[in-house]
């Protein structure tokens, strides 16, 4: 328990950030119309690929001779990039369909 209190007091800025981001997330999403639920979900899905940063840092911090770690890191990085690129591209495709119709009468 004391361990946690110590961590909490050391990282209170992080905890502030956490709480405010939760509020921000709720605020941004709560008014989205049904039409956009799917693109929104796949867009936010792409954003969860932000975990890619972790994979990059992992590889950069691995000793250059640690093949196993590097391979695992590269796999993680590739998977995260599939999530990021696939997610944004799929979202773009869906949103283009919404746009297309506006030009039509």
């Amino acid at each position: 328990m004391e361990d946690f209190i110590e961590i909490a007091s050391k990282n209170y800025l992080l905890i502030f950030l956490l709480v405010f981001t939760v509020i921000l997330g709720f605020e941004i999403i709560s008014k989205v119309p049904t039409v956009l639920h799917t693109p929104l979900m796949s867009g936010s899905n792409a954003i969860s690929g932000i975990v890619v940063i972790g994979a990059i840092l992992l590889i950069r911090q691995s000793p250059s001779s640690a093949w196993l770690e590097l391979t695992a890191g590269m796999l993680a990085l590739a998977l995260a990039m599939v999530n990021v690129v696939g997610g944004f591209a799929v979202t773009q495709r869906m949103l283009e369909m919404f746009k297309k119709k506006k030009s039509k009468p």
Partner: protein, 465 residues
């Protein structure tokens, strides 16, 4: 001034791009640019992560990084370009699983790195938690993908006492999380066992959920992946990972709750799989007869209506009938019929599924009415066409307190003058309950595959003109 400042600034700008992009995605007009903005933010984040000055910890390994970046981007791009719009729910689950898998691998490697020089309980906990949530999300998303792809049967993989079994598994992984954080000297074998159980928990957690509950579970898994990314952010002390991950976690949670509300059920009820063991409501009177209608009569009825509401469901997606549906819509509009679409929030297999399908077929989105608008429209509506939807138009939700869907807001199609229901057979919907709508006196059944039936209607309406 240390050069790290510039990279921190890049992270900050990237985070703002992501937040602002997500914000802009909440309106159809700005959604496209919003998505682009979020993608730019992500690009900035990746650049910053690749070139951030790490000092002595930096071992370069740029080949590995660019290899992974290229490989992943290539695969992701091809997948995204190739996937059919009807396969979008499984695509989103699959992509979501990838993010979870990343967090899982990061957790594993980072845990092994801690080695015997065990860190504090709390710092170990962040690593193990990222591993846990990542694995659950990966396992769950994978099964959701297989279910939606039709490779795994929806309902037949539940064990007896499945929810009790899941609770035991949950207790087991939580205990494992505590034990692995308490000490890092358990050996790799136990670490992998823990990962395997976490993955299995993900599978087992999604197993009893299926059909119409899929939208809920997909957005829930989405929020899990976000949380795992944010936890990994704590591991690396990276603010942008925390912001991005939490945003997704929060938005996924909100979307999940919105779906639950649309079904008038609690999240717990969905997870435990309430529909499966539900009482089938009042048994339909076997004397009741349904009236079926031929293509010609149905076509005449539609063509001479003033207003028509189309209620699409999962059947439309299965039959890939969205384009024919639009064709019928155009023909009717040419005859002076006002055609609208009534979209139930949980129609289909993911949030907003029907909207995407109809958008693909170029149906203008102002024609799509949400639940409330559609119910207003129904008061003065001449004819309703239900295409492959069942539970979302079931009057039992209003009339029969013993029904398992009682209280769920539905589209009150029986208020229209006539209702035509397109269905493959008299089978029940996902909830496995009778639909009294089919026995209403102004309901007409049109049996057959949705696409063929719609094509039939199109040629009949053409024949009328």
């Amino acid at each position: 001034m240390s050069p790290a400042v510039w990279f921190d600034l890049a992270y900050l700008v990237g985070s703002v791009c992501i937040v602002w992009g997500l914000k802009r995605m909440s309106s159809p007009e700005t959604a496209g640019p919003g998505n682009t903005l979020a993608a730019i933010g992500m690009g900035l984040a990746i650049l910053a992560a690749v070139f951030y000055p790490l000092g002595e910890d930096d071992n370069g390994n740029l080949i590995w990084i660019f290899g992974g970046l290229l490989l992943g981007s290539g695969v992701g791009y091809v997948l995204a370009k190739k996937v059919a719009m009807t396969a979008m729910p499984q695509m989103v689950s699959l992509l979501n699983g990838m993010g979870g898998a990343t967090a899982m691998i990061l957790g594993l490697v980072e845990y092994l790195r801690i080695g015997s020089n065990s860190g504090s309980f709390a710092s170990n906990l962040t690593v193990v938690f990222a591993l846990l949530v990542g694995s659950v999300s990966f396992g769950g998303s994978l099964l959701a993908y297989l279910k939606l792809e039709g490779k795994v049967d929806d309902k037949k993989i539940t064990l007896p006492f499945h929810s009790a079994f899941n609770l035991v598994l949950l207790a087991l992984v939580l205990f494992g999380t505590w034990a692995l954080s308490f000490s890092t000297n358990w050996g790799t074998g136990l670490l992998f066992l823990f990962t395997a159980i976490s993955l299995f928990y993900g599978l087992s957690f999604v197993a009893p959920i299926g059909g119409a509950d899929m939208p809920v579970v997909i957005s829930l898994l989405n929020s899990f992946t976000g949380i795992s990314a944010a936890t990994a952010g704590f591991v690396y002390g990276n603010l942008m990972m925390i912001v991005g991950g939490i945003l997704v976690g929060a938005s996924g949670t909100i979307l999940t709750l919105m779906m639950c509300k649309a079904m008038n059920r609690s999240l717990m009820n969905v997870i435990v799989g309430g529909f499966g063991n539900a009482v089938p409501g009042v048994a339909a009177d076997s004397n009741q007869q349904v009236k079926s209608v031929g293509l010609t009569d149905a076509a005449i009825q539609l063509a001479y209506s003033k207003t028509v509401l189309v209620v699409p469901g999962y059947g439309l997606a299965v039959a890939q009938a969205q384009k024919v549906c639009k064709e019928l819509d155009e023909l009717l509009e040419a005859n002076g019929v006002d055609v609208r679409y009534g979209i139930h929030p949980v129609a289909g297999r993911m949030p907003g599924h029907m909207n995407v399908l109809l958008a693909e077929a170029d149906v203008p989105y102002p024609k799509l009415l949400d639940l409330e608008e559609a119910n207003d429209f129904l008061n003065q509506c001449d004819a309703v066409v239900v295409i492959g939807a069942n539970d979302v138009v079931n009057p039992a939700a209003e009339r029969d307190p013993s029904s398992s869907i009682y209280g769920m807001p539905v589209l009150k199609v029986w208020q229209a003058k006539n209702t035509i229901v397109m269905k493959r057979s008299m089978g029940k919907g996902y909830a496995g309950i009778e639909n009294p709508l089919f026995f209403e006196k102004n309901t007409y059944m049109l049996f057959g595959d949705a696409k063929q039936t719609l094509q039939g209607l199109v040629s009949e309406v053409k024949g009328l003109g």
